[in-house]
Symmetry: C2
Subunit: 726 residues, 2 copies
């Protein structure tokens, strides 16, 4: 038996299926002498008492350092498994594995095949036999896991009684009565924060001395695992010992600044480090210096030396989880005890990150662009958001009940109300959400008008008037609603007591809500398009965000109408023969739909503008966000997700623009510059295209050339269309 993730030892029962005298292989970062301290007592006892042959291997280290690509870790482990299992003679097993590796990876190029060959060779003898101490037989039991605690009793109950058994795979033992609190399928938001899966091998470590407090790292994080905190002197004083602070306070304030990291929630994607401008600059400078001083270095050596040289100047670096864990206390403290500083919050890269994210620790892939977008949306509008979510990746990471990653803020307990709908009717479902709250709110607005007529001059009247004059402005109405509720609760006016009571009974529906319809391209371009079109046409005030991965990601990579010419996908094995559907232009044809295309990694400010404008528009809005995906085979992996977006825009592969119906002139703003980089070079850097060049070079050449022409024409067309809308 083999266990490929050390975190599972604590979470699941991994060893009791090993037969006495059997073999157990554990992939871990621990050295033999560290095992006693890290292994759960149950595991140690079972191994020792059952005479288990116990081996460990650090496959991540081998794959990353010896082979040079952490992705082949599984191949290393497979080879180690066969070497130990001895199902076949060792040499024969290696031969079979290499044959299969060739068959599986030749489509991705000989380099990928060679990597796997190296991994097979490396794995065959890279394990270490552990001498099991006699003491393990009788070691003391671990203290039982303490039940979860927190300030939200209903959530705590759900975590202890549902999430815990379900995520340890004991969900089938739950009686029906365990779900008595969830008769309608509603679950408490925020349970994901209790998972603390700790699955990242490496996590970021913040260097206070070099940070410029731009918050870009936090802005790109898909899992909300790295967050700035601005603390008053008192808050800072109460922070856990060793919490690092930047030397200078937050600009124009006295707040002490720290960047907190949750090593247990991080997925190790490295996006934050890649996005850090300080780190990037330091590395670039160091690379230049090394190149100038040591032109004789090969690429690998040069990179190593540059990293060493840059080290004292970087603000973020990836370190093993164990080391990064030292930052957990500060993170947990800030989440639980540091108050939001409203004056720091704003619609900027920096300001948006001083707001509590209301999507955190989801199960999306490491580096996922979708959750980076969605997390940001919750920071801007989350407290008054309703989300209708189409089936697809976003419904999986968004609602893997009972581990709910959408959460509520700590001040008022408000957060996104989230519901998953079917693939084919999500837009309609979201419109229904909108219409439902609209009816309730309009009734209440009527009551407030009555109330306003009824009461004399004074605080309550002012509050009514403020409320009534801000009905259409989400942000202003949120504040006015709070004030109105407070004024109603404080009021002693007797003749309006009954009316106040009626309003207060439904106070949650008073403020303007922000209705969002989320889904992927499979939903928006294909299966749910009929409904999406219908909802956009309706003219109602809903906001649609499309996570455009250009493929059905969640079901294994089938081509959608968002897939592009030449792209290889399921049902398009020979490269898609027709171009990408122009969903944005279709929506623009209505004239009264706000439409934007965005690419976070290419222009974060454009994204912020689009989100803010879309939400403020009193009609339907559609934002299509480019979302590179694990399925794309981005060169270097998903740590380059955000950089890939910039490359896509530079090469003219993706266009950024905003069509705003409220503008009198210049409704269509093209935010992308004219393409400056090589289109074909760009697409060939992604496996979803490169694969075709491998299997069918002639067809690839023809399709890629046509795709390039299409892309150029698309940009020209956009520019011409902006004339059309002048």
């Amino acid at each position: 038996m083999a266990c490929h993730n050390q975190a599972y030892l604590t979470k699941y029962d991994m060893v009791s299926d090993v037969k006495p005298g059997g073999t157990f292989l554990l992939d871990c970062a621990w050295k033999p002498e560290e095992l006693d301290a890290h292994l759960p007592s149950k595991v140690k006892k079972y191994i020792a008492n059952n005479n288990v042959n116990f081996y460990i291997i650090d496959a991540t280290d081998i794959a990353a350092k010896r082979i040079g690509n952490v992705k082949v870790k599984n191949t290393v482990l497979q080879s180690a498994f066969f070497a130990l299992a001895k199902i076949l003679p060792a040499a024969e097993a290696v031969e079979y594995m290499k044959k299969m590796a060739y068959k599986s990876y030749i489509k991705k190029g000989q380099a990928m095949v060679d990597l796997n060959y190296a991994a097979i060779d490396a794995g065959a003898d890279a394990f270490i036999k552990v001498e099991v101490p006699e003491a393990w037989k009788t070691c003391a039991d671990d203290a039982p896991k303490a039940p979860a605690t927190g300030t939200r009793p209903a959530l705590v109950k759900a975590v202890n009684e549902l999430l815990e058994p379900i995520s340890s795979m004991a969900g089938d033992s739950l009686p029906v009565s365990a779900f008595a609190d969830n008769p309608d399928g509603t679950f408490q938001q925020g349970a994901a924060a209790y998972e603390k899966r700790g699955v990242a091998v490496n996590v970021p470590l913040w260097h206070a001395e070099n940070c410029v407090q731009c918050n870009t790292c936090s802005f790109v994080c898909p899992h909300a695992a790295i967050r700035p905190a601005a603390m008053t002197a008192e808050e800072a004083a109460a922070a856990p010992e060793g919490t690092p602070f930047a030397a200078r306070p937050v600009l124009k304030t006295n707040y002490k600044f720290t960047m907190t990291v949750s090593a247990l929630d991080c997925m190790g994607c490295t996006l934050c480090v890649k996005a850090c401008p300080v780190t990037k600059k330091a590395l670039e400078n160091a690379e230049k210096t090394v190149a100038a001083e040591h032109p004789e270095y090969d690429a690998k050596t040069a990179a190593k030396e540059a990293a060493k040289l840059a080290a004292p100047k970087i603000a973020l670096e990836m370190v093993p989880q164990a080391k990064g864990l030292a930052q957990q206390g500060a993170f947990d403290y800030a989440v639980a005890h540091v108050a939001e500083k409203p004056e720091l919050v704003g619609n900027t890269i920096k300001g948006s990150q001083f707001k509590q994210p209301l999507l955190e620790f989801s199960g999306s892939c490491a580096g996922c662009a979708e959750t980076s977008y969605a997390r940001l949306v919750t920071q801007l509008f989350g407290e008054r958001m309703y989300i209708s979510n189409a089936t697809g990746c976003s419904s999986i990471w968004g609602g893997a009940a009972p581990a709910t990653p959408y959460t509520v803020n700590k001040e008022s307990g408000h957060g996104p109300a989230w519901c998953n709908s079917l693939f084919e009717d999500n837009a309609e479902h979201g419109l229904g959400m909108y219409l439902g709250q609209k009816v309730l709110r309009e009734k209440l607005i009527g009551y407030v008008r009555e109330l306003n007529e009824m009461v004399g001059e004074g605080e309550l009247k002012t509050a009514c008037e403020n409320y009534l004059s801000t009905l259409d402005d989400g942000k202003a109405n949120e504040a006015a609603t709070k004030a109105l509720v407070a004024a109603m609760e404080a009021s002693t006016c007797e003749k309006c007591a009954a009316l106040r009571e009626k309003i207060l009974a439904e106070k949650e529906y008073l403020s303007k809500k922000s209705i969002w319809i989320f889904g992927g391209d499979g939903w928006a371009y294909d299966i749910g398009f009929g409904g999406l079109d219908h909802v956009l046409a309706s003219g109602e005030d809903v906001n649609v965000f499309v996570f455009d991965t250009e493929v059905y990601s969640n079901t294994g990579g089938q081509a959608s109408k968002a897939s592009n010419l030449g792209q290889v996908a399921q049902f398009a094995a020979a490269g898609k023969a027709i171009g990408k559907k122009n969903l944005a232009e279709i929506a623009m044809s209505y004239g009264y739909v706000y439409v934007a295309q965005v690419a976070m990694g290419a222009d974060m400010n454009q994204l912020l503008k689009a989100l803010t404008e879309a939400e403020a528009y009193h009609g339907p809005s559609l934002i299509i966000g480019y979302a590179p995906c694990e399925m794309h085979g981005v060169k270097g992996g998903m740590q380059n997700c955000q950089l890939e977006m910039k490359k896509a825009v530079d090469a003219g592969y993706w266009q950024m623009f905003r069509y705003n119906p409220t503008l009198e002139t210049g409704k269509l703003t093209v935010d992308s510059k004219a393409p400056s980089a090589d289109y074909i070079g760009f697409i060939k850097s992604e496996n979803r295209y490169a694969r075709l060049a491998q299997t069918n070079p002639e067809r690839a050449e023809a399709l890629f050339e046509k795709a390039k022409e299409n892309a150029a024409a698309k940009y020209q067309r956009l520019e011409k269309m902006s004339e059309l809308y002048k």
Copy 2:
């Protein structure tokens, strides 16, 4: 009991439910003294033997001549019914009816209310008591109806065994075994020709001496009830006595020309008379003369006098059915015995009408624009057409089984293969039809390639080569396929006998087919749009025709996304608040979809161009045809359907254009001229808009003004877009 259509007396058992001594009211054009000759023997016997009080009334005559609007015929009859039935005291009945008339029609204006008041007053005493002759008690039985005959035994069987009992409302008496020929739901095409419903009150009468042989009357006829025939001397000689012929032969030929009319299939819509350029000119001239000579005449008198003056110069006029029936023999003869003259057939108004229509005598409303379009399409491509039809009006008039109006040509027995699909998946269903025949055909093409390799020089090889070189050209391939089949059948080559046999076994799939997807705006803009978009995006060679009535016609007039700003419909009682969806622009966004908007009555040649280009394009095509509908409340009724299209285009209400992806430059041709007529004046002439001006004049003014702006902007946008596509 009352019977409001004299044709029903023969078709159904109308009297046997009248109790002895009861009252029977018949609406008919017959005078009392003509009854003996016209009434079926069964009816006469029942009336006489059961002491039935028998009354007749000519409601059409009363409504048309005494009240001035044939539409109130039913109100006349209602009033007569109550006067005779004596359920209420007569005065009270009149009062109730007037109250209801007010309630029902005030939305359509006081004039409409007044018309109904007049009809109520007129109907109350306009019936005539028939003195029932004693002889009726013992009159001789009518000869039994002869069973249908014809040259297609399977169809004849279906007509006699299914159509006859079902359409006399005895379908529920049929045993399951009666459907043994239809186990898969397939019905014989062409059964509608056996219905001969004879429901038109007035039908056209052709005046050979004034006709210029332009065929426009036939071009606009929704029911294919008026058709030109070009006859050889022999054919003309064999024509029924009294068949009128034009003095001069068909241009550049010796064929004798006659315009034939089927009074029994005509619906009396009058479109042909309205479309006749000779008749129109004659009337206009006469009106001018009368106006000049008798300025003192009121409008009604002037119109009457002008009609009298024009009479000797017109080519078509509406006459009572009985008079028009004299033309039936010539029509039936031409259909059955006059051969097509291929050299006269072409893609022109005139030429298209020398081709047998393969949609005839459907149950569509009188004046229906949809069947005018569809009939024309069958004349252009019907022999090699597959039609997938969405649910809606077009599925009702297209497939009211067992009365099938799609038919086959008399030469080869080919005609449209028609199938109705659901509302929500018709485009996909049509794509499936396309893909099915594509697979079959591609297999056969492979066989022909083999055959071509196998045979030596000679007729068969030439036929193979001609076939293979015309694969993508529908018309040319049709001829080449005929030649190939003949050559294969004639061939004696032994070594290729097996191959020939294989090909001939599936010869129907050899030629290029013309795949059409038909549906209304409810389907294309709304319920089936998701699928339509998917099919257009597929790039496959299918043709879509949308009958755009701007409303769900068949289900009673619900608003669709094709409905326009300010239009009153179900679910849009206060006038639709948002504009019409731009389906054409959406389709154009793909770049590889042929897209056209047409309006037959505004530009017949543009329609012909669009149909021909769309069908010839080797990719998806979308044609959106403007189709005024009974639901619109067009001024003067559906006799003005075709004229209304012209008005719509002149006012900028509808735009005509063609987007042809095959063109290198100038892909988008705007065929409409800049609007020259008053937009608001135009829409107010239709009840669907005028109604709003009545019920909510302020809202109407605002919406109409906005609609006018939208229309102007739409035309400008089109012109700018044509720049975009230059």
